[in-house]
C-alpha cells in the first residue's frame, strides 16, 4: 500500500479527498467489521462501537504516515480502535449509557444470571486486561497478533491474558479454569 501524506482538514470534503478515497478504502475496508467486533467486545454498545471504529478510521487516515509501508495494518488499526474504546469508556456520558443499556438480545437465555455476573466481572477489568481477554477469547486472535496490537511480546500477551482470566476466577466454575 502506497501511503501518501496529506493535510488534515476539519471539513468533510477535505477529510478524504476524492483521489485518496480509493487508497483509504483499500487500506481499511477489510478491517472495518473485525474492528467493529473488537469495539463491541470492549464497549458492548453498537452505536458506541460504530462511532469508535469511524473515529479510529479517521484518526488512522490522518496519521497514516506513521504506518510502516508493507506491514500488516490490522494490529496498527486495532491499536487505534482500542485507544478509541478506552477514550469512550472513560467519558462520563458513556458510563451513564452503559449503566442504562439493556442486556443485548444476542445473549443466550439459559444461565442468564451466570452470564450477567461474568459480564460484570469483565466490565470491572482494567482496559489492558480486558483488551487482552477480548482479543484472545472474543476475537480468537493468536497471541502473536495480540502482542502486535498491544505492542508487547508474545509471552507478555499470554501472561496478560492469563492474568485477566485469573481475575475472572470468582465468576467462573472450576471446570472452566485455565491450567496453563
Amino acid at each position: 500500500v502506497k501511503v501518501v501524506p496529506t493535510s488534515v482538514s476539519s471539513s468533510p470534503e477535505q477529510a478524504v479527498r476524492p483521489h485518496e478515497a480509493a487508497e483509504l478504502d483499500d487500506l481499511l475496508a477489510p478491517l472495518m467489521l473485525p474492528a467493529y467486533r473488537l469495539a463491541f467486545g470492549m464497549l458492548r454498545n453498537r452505536e458506541e462501537a460504530e462511532d469508535a471504529v469511524q473515529d479510529a478510521a479517521l484518526s488512522a487516515w490522518k496519521h497514516r504516515k506513521r504506518f510502516r509501508a508493507g506491514a500488516d495494518p490490522k494490529p496498527w488499526f486495532f491499536a487505534i480502535v482500542a485507544n478509541r474504546c478506552r477514550s469512550t469508556r472513560r467519558s462520563p456520558w458513556s458510563r451513564l449509557l452503559r449503566q442504562a443499556s439493556p442486556v443485548p438480545q444476542s445473549a443466550p437465555a439459559p444461565d442468564v444470571d451466570s452470564n450477567l455476573d461474568l459480564r460484570r466481572a469483565v466490565n470491572r477489568l482494567r482496559h489492558d486486561d480486558r483488551l487482552a481477554l477480548v482479543l484472545r477469547f472474543y476475537l480468537d486472535l493468536p497471541y502473536e497478533e495480540i502482542a502486535a496490537v498491544l505492542r508487547i511480546s508474545e509471552a507478555a500477551a499470554r501472561s496478560r491474558a492469563q492474568r485477566a482470566v485469573r481475575r475472572l476466577r470468582p465468576e467462573l466454575s472450576q471446570s472452566e479454569e485455565l491450567t496453563w
Binding site: A15, A29, A57, L58, N115, E176, T179
Partner: protein, 452 residues
Amino acid sequence: VIDEDRLRTRLQQAIGYEPPSPSFSTARPSSLIVRRVASRNAMERRNSVLLAFVAGLISVAIVVTLIFGARALHLTPSVPVHPGPPAPVAVKTEICQAQCEVNSQHALQPKPAAIRQCGISTATGCAVQAPFFASPSLGWISNSFTGPDGPAFLYRTDDAGQLWRPVLSWDGPGAEQIRSSADGQEALIVTAWGSHPGTIFHTSDAGTHWTARGLPVGAASDSIVYFLNPAEGWVLSANLDLIHTIDGGTNWTRVARLEGVQQGGNLLFLTSSNGVYVQPPTVDVTHDGGATWRATSPARPEGVPVGAFVKHAQATFFNSQDGMLELDYCTVALCPSRKAFAYRTSDGGSHWSLPVSLPAGVGRMIFIDTNHWIGIFGDVMSVRSVIRTSDVGQHWTDVASADGSYSPWDLLEPMGFTDPLRGWALGASRGYPSLLITSDGGITWIARALPT
C-alpha cells in the same frame, strides 16, 4: 487441560454480539469518515449553540440573583430617590408610652379651711357635692360656688354628720370624687375638670396638710377619672388610653388602650385587678388591672321592641365579685317612657343573670346589695316617692321617714351604703339641704345638718 473453548464460549455468551447497522457494514471507509466528520461538525455546532444558551441562562440567573438578593438585603441605590406624596396615616395620639407627665402647672393650690354654707341646688349659686363615707361615722363632703374659680370647701365629720369640720378650701371647681381610708388619715379629692385641667388634693395626716397634684397631661375634659382608694386610680383619656397611679397621682403609668370601645362609658374598678367599663349595650371586664379587656353582653330582655336602645346604664359593685347592673331601654331619643331592667353578677361582671324587670316609671335605682334595692320615682328636684325591695325585686314597699317630719322625703343624689344596713344620701325638703342617714337598709331615714 485447558478448556479454552468452553471459556471462549462463556465469554462470547456473556459479552454477546450485536451486528453493526447496515449503513456501517455496507459503507466504504472513506464515506464513513466523511459522514463521521460531518456528524462531528454538526455536533460541535450544536454544542456551541447549547453552550451559548447555557451561558446566557447562567448570566440571566446571576443578574436575577443579584437583583433579588439586593432587595432581600434592603440595599438602597446610591442615587437620591424622590418619594411621592406621603400616604395618609391615621394618627392616634397617645398620652404617654410608659411614664406619664403630670400637668402640675395648672394644679389648684390648697388654701386654709373655711366654712361657707350653701344649698344643694346650683340655682342658689352654691352646691353640695360628692359626699363620701368611709365608714358609718367618718365622712367627707364638699360645697362650692358656681364658676371656674369657686371657691370650694371641704368638710369632714367623725360622728355621722352631727358635726362638720372644715379641712380645706381652694379657688376652683368643687370636688368630683372624694376617697378616704377607713380611719380617715389618708384622703384624696379630685376637683371637677372640664374648663379646668383638674387637681388632686391629697392628705396623709387626716387633713392637716394637703398637697396638690395635676392630672396627667392630656387628660382632657372628656376623660374619665376613677379612684379606688386614696392611692390607686385610673384615668381613661379621650383616645381611650388607660393610665394608672398607685401613689395618689404622683406618678402615672400607661396600662393599655381600650380598643374597640366607645367613649362616654362608666369606668369603675372593684379591686386593683378587677374593673368594668360600662358602655351600653356591652360591659367590658378586666381582671388584670386594665391590661386586657373582654366584652360581655347582658341578655336582651324579652318584650323589648326591636328598635329599643339602652339609654342609661349603671353598674354597682359591693365587693370584687358581686354587683348589679341597671339598663334602661328606650325607643325614642328623649326616652319618655323607658323600661328598666336589673342584672346581677357574682363573678366580677364576666357573666350576668337574666334581666329582672323593674317597676314601671322608676327613675333611679340604688342597689344596697344583690337582694336589697331602692327605687326612686321622679327627678332630682322633685322626688315623688321611694320604694324598696328585699327579695330581688319580687315585692316592693314604700319608704317612710323615721320621725315623720319630712313627708315625702326628697332623696337626691347621691346615695351610698357603707354596709347593707347603714347608708347616707343628700336630702332636701322644701329647699333646705340636709344629710339623710339610715341604719336599717333604707327603711327609715333621719336628717343631719350640712355644714353651717
